[in-house]
Amino acid sequence: MDVHAAHNAVTAAAPAFSSRPEDIAWFILLLPLLAAAGITLIVRRSNFLAATFSIAATVTAFVLSFVLFLMFGVGDAAAVTSPFAWLHAGELAVNLGVTVDKLSTLMLLVVTGVSALVQVYSVGYMHGDRSFPRFFIGLSLFTFSMLGIVLADNFVMMFLFWELVGVSSWLLIGFWYEKESAADAAKKAFLTNRLGDFGFLLGIIIIWAAAGTVNFAELSQKLGAHPDLLGSLASVAGLLVFMGAMGKSAQFPLHVWLPDAMEGPTPVSALIHAATMVAAGVYMLCRVFFLYQVETAWPAALAFFGSISALDIIGGIGAFTALLAALMAIQQNDIKRILAYSTLSQLGYMVMAVGCGGPDAAMYHLTTHAGFKALLFLGAGSVIHACHHEQDIWKMGGLRKLMPKTFLTFALGTAALAGLPPLSGFYSKDAVLLAALDNGHPVLFGLGVLIAAMTTFYMLRLVLVAFLGSGRSEAAGHAHESPGAMTWPLVILAVPSVMLAWVPLGDYLTHHFFTDHGHVHGHGSEVISFGATISAAFGLVNHILFEPFNHAPLPAFLGTGALIIGAWIAVTLYWNAERDPLPKLLGSFARGMRNRFYFDEIYEAIFIPLHDLVARLADWFDRWVVGGLAVRGAHGSTELLGRALRIVQSGNLQTYTFFFVAGVALVVLIALK
């Protein structure tokens, strides 16, 4: 079908809408909220109706998103926004508005698409849970919050929804709050995110104070005209905003919440890891990429950074996170945790791409990753469901024959993640590597290739151990294929995992980022109009499939080589393996990988003594200064002692949080001096 014809048909069929397409965007945003409200107020007691409300709203939102995509993504309509006044006082003016452009319409499709499939899947997975409707309220709220981030046309509105995503994640990760580990994980996720948001908010305030606006379009314009508008705080502001992304997209050192978040029900993991929460950070970086195109400037106290730009630091953090998480993934035995560390690693990949000046590559990888990572998580959920909540891959085995649909789709997802040509992951990974190479980051490029090999290795390890060989436990022996509500989403998700890159998505994104604004040079690939290419695409499958090898052979061949090496080692070690040979081969290094390089322990070791010190200081202060002022009188001292003891004895997450924040605050203070 000719896409332009479809586009015209849509425009003709909906004259009421096409005059104000932004109204469609508002409607898409509100649909999941309406569903959540409807379930809460009307159908709280009916499982069936709750699921129906929620799924109907999300599917409708998906269809409408597709309409918008045809109008703005495929068509040539200019970006629109529709602000209305929200918060005005003095010079502060914040409007609420939606942005509809190539970037947001693509992301709308990703979010509503994955969310709809996850919800259908949840009908099967959560069957029989006594809080079934509450689960769908949570999913709807989560979708709503994420859509708000996607559509926001200014920093404050994005921050509003940013926080709502934090709350929704807390509700969903802690869904089984009776389990203490789940409640703790939810708290950890919320707190760690809030930590990042603290920097984010500070960054927003700095930008507002310097530029006088929080609107993306206006900011982009102003910064384009005056690249020195943010003065000496330009790079600091960029990094503070990046802190928000570090929290949501779980970048080192704020990565610790993400693996624990596996305590939530598996559909939640799929949603969080594929299309919503963690993607929000990368999406935000891409949305505000203009912020990182200004001249590098550091305040006097941070002058030692010299010509190192905010983007360089972002790229470094991304690459380090990617490497660290890939190492950790190699020695995990819990099927969900392997996928969790894999997500961490891939997010690092995307952030690295942004840091290399390739937001188009980052978004490309985000889009393909959303498809195959949702597929992998839902597949893992299917396995867990079949094995009676067994999650240890060494207690599985032989599932290939018992669960053929799950196995086939899972294998496809694995191949896509590993970057096997011509599956979608190959192209987006190639784009990331190309961005690193073309923009002069050979070290990051090398790391990227290494991580690609490791990715193939740990994913193949998972598949070989869990699905091949023979069953290693009773649960695995009696496993059976999951119901249709769970397998159909897997099959549907397999389609984009294979084919997504056969449409010229990379060019589409490059076009968005580097032609509309024009103040940065793209890296090579020729801009082709989407509509023209798509008709040519199917005639020239050959060209599409092998284009990367012709166009930029180095990343394509190295990436594929890494895949082959990773796969070869994995097969050598794990084909029909009864236990993991790596601990013997690598000794204590393997133990380090398994124990996540002791990050949680290191945080404890650093922050608890520090906390004790501050507690003693506070004790001293209360006793001698506040007490000395005779505010409390004789009675007060016992109370103080009790309180001081309580302060000393708490050695928990809140404490580290405090020191984290205090540290950030300290750095900013120094920077301001």
Partner: protein, 498 residues
């Protein structure tokens, strides 16, 4: 018209003694009707005053020999706080429906306190304002000493002492201003025009400001607040945190800052620093409390720090943020104390978080749990609730003047998440592990006393208010922001401060 808020409250307080001593239901209904009438008058009056400018309500000679007048007036700031008082009064009564001990007297004191508070917010004659301010202190003492819990006499005395010390400082400052100006008037609008000598302002300002700020929980004079809140009966805690602390902040803004702009310029940085210490200190201490009410009490110190910080920014953004934060904290703190004092403590008879930890109240009182979660989210400044807008504005205002302090105050916001989640989890969502995910079990374990209808109505009203303002802050800001254009703040503008 707005003056009737005061008269209705005092008249109803007096009318309590016409009821039979054992007429509990009568007392409750009378109190509720009076509070509703006060709220209705407040809202109606506020709607007439669209625009937020200064409007005189009543003005008669009162003590002609000293030039004192009975001068009631209102601007957008007063209106906002009058509405808050009306709301808090109504909901407080709904949460006190179960008071059985000397019900008549309880509501008499309660309404007298409300009347005094209305009076303070509407007085533009300093002597009158001071009289209402004192009227509000006395009922507080009795409410805590008679109907309170945990060490109530001690707490009542502590609160009264702090209040009176503060009042003495305020009175000294006001009398000095009266004498120095020589204008033979206590009219605030007139006095604000008088250019007091800088040397005088430099000591009069801290005297009056701190005198008021004690009641606003200014660190390090905050210690009355947690003990007072904890010992007070539910409705009194709600009023203390919800309204009485605002009396202090209101006095700081209305009296100290308008009369002594030059003194303000001198002391501004110091007070802003104390406010920020309060924000972080309150949050840190809250994090380690075992008594549920102390958690909220110290969080109030932290949130009121934002009010004081906002006042010190002296920009329209920060000042309007501070007033909005007064309203917002009044609603949210009221809600938190309502849940803890009425829903939890009256049923479980303990506020010790370690004891509550084993009981998993989310199962026996789901309504209380949900309400507290929502109130907690609002309290930690989450978007969609009033606290976010208010604290955001204060932070932005602070960034323009005190960037370093703004950064530190931001720490307080992060800590807010920590202590709130800790309390939520300990009080409601932890306990025996008997049922695993997926298991099915039915309803209330021991339905000893379900949450009553008045409690539910009260909670819903407050939640709706904070959400409404959070989603559409313009409702209040359209009153608040224009207030700062009135001649009252000319002194600040002349000094280039506003």
């Amino acid at each position: 018209m707005l003056a009737w808020t005061i008269y209705i409250s005092f008249a109803a307080a007096a009318a309590m003694f016409l009821l039979k001593p054992d007429s509990r239901q009568g007392a409750r209904v009378l109190a509720l009707v009076a509070a509703l009438a006060g709220l209705a008058v407040g809202l109606a009056g506020a709607l007439q005053h669209a625009g937020g400018g200064l409007v005189t309500i009543q003005k008669y000679p009162w003590v002609p020999t000293v030039g004192a007048e009975y001068y009631l007036a209102a601007d957008g700031i007063s209106l906002t706080l009058v509405i808050l008082t009306g709301l808090a009064a109504v909901v407080g009564i709904l949460f006190s429906w179960n008071v059985e001990l000397r019900t008549r007297e309880f509501f008499a004191f309660y309404l007298a306190l409300i009347g005094g508070v209305y009076g303070v917010f509407l007085s533009f004659d300093l002597l009158l304002l001071f009289v209402f301010y004192e009227i509000a202190i006395v009922p507080k003492y009795f409410l805590i000493a008679i109907w309170g819990s945990t060490r109530r006499e001690y707490a009542a005395m502590k609160l009264a002492l702090y209040s009176f010390i503060g009042s003495a400082m305020v009175l000294a400052g006001l009398v000095a201003a009266y004498v120095v100006s020589g204008a033979q008037t206590f009219n605030l609008v007139e006095l604000a025009k008088y250019p007091f000598p800088a040397s005088f302002q430099n000591w009069a300002f801290p005297l009056v400001f701190v005198g008021f700020a004690i009641l606003a929980g200014l660190w390090p004079f905050h210690t009355w607040a947690p003990t007072g809140h904890s010992a007070a009966p539910t409705a009194a805690s709600m009023l203390l945190a919800g309204v009485v602390m605002k009396l202090g902040a209101y006095g700081c803004l209305r009296v100290a800052m308008t009369l002594f702009p030059e003194g303000l310029a001198t002391w501004r940085n110091a007070i802003a620093a104390l406010a920020v210490v309060g924000i972080v200190y309150g949050a840190l201490v809250s994090l380690t409390q075992r008594d549920f009410k102390f958690v909220i009490g110290y969080s109030s110190v932290s949130h009121m720090g934002f009010v004081l910080l906002g006042l010190m920014t002296l920009s329209t953004i920060g000042l309007s943020g501070a007033v909005l934060q007064m309203f917002s904290h009044g609603v949210i703190a009221g809600l938190l104390f309502g849940v803890v004092g009425r829903m939890v403590y009256d049923r479980e008879h303990t506020r010790d978080l370690d004891e509550l930890q084993g009981r998993r109240l989310s199962r026996t009182m789901p309504f209380a749990a949900v309400t507290f979660v929502v109130a907690g989210l609002a309290s930690m400044g989450l978007p969609g609730f009033s606290g976010f807008v208010a604290e955001l504005k204060v932070l932005i205002g602070a960034w323009q003047t005190f960037p370093k302090l703004a950064v530190i105050a931001g720490v307080g916001i992060v800590l807010g998440v920590a202590y709130t989640l800790r309390a939520v989890q300990k009080a409601f969502f932890s306990g025996d592990q008997e049922d695993v995910p997926g298991a099915v079990h039915g309803g209330h374990a021991h339905g000893e006393s379900a949450i009553t209808l008045p409690e539910k109505i009260g909670a819903v009203v407050l939640i709706a208010t904070t959400v409404l303002i959070g989603l559409y802050p313009k409702l209040l800001l359209d009153w608040i922001v224009p207030s700062f254009a009135s001649p009252l703040f000319d002194g600040l503008r002349k000094g280039g401060l506003l």
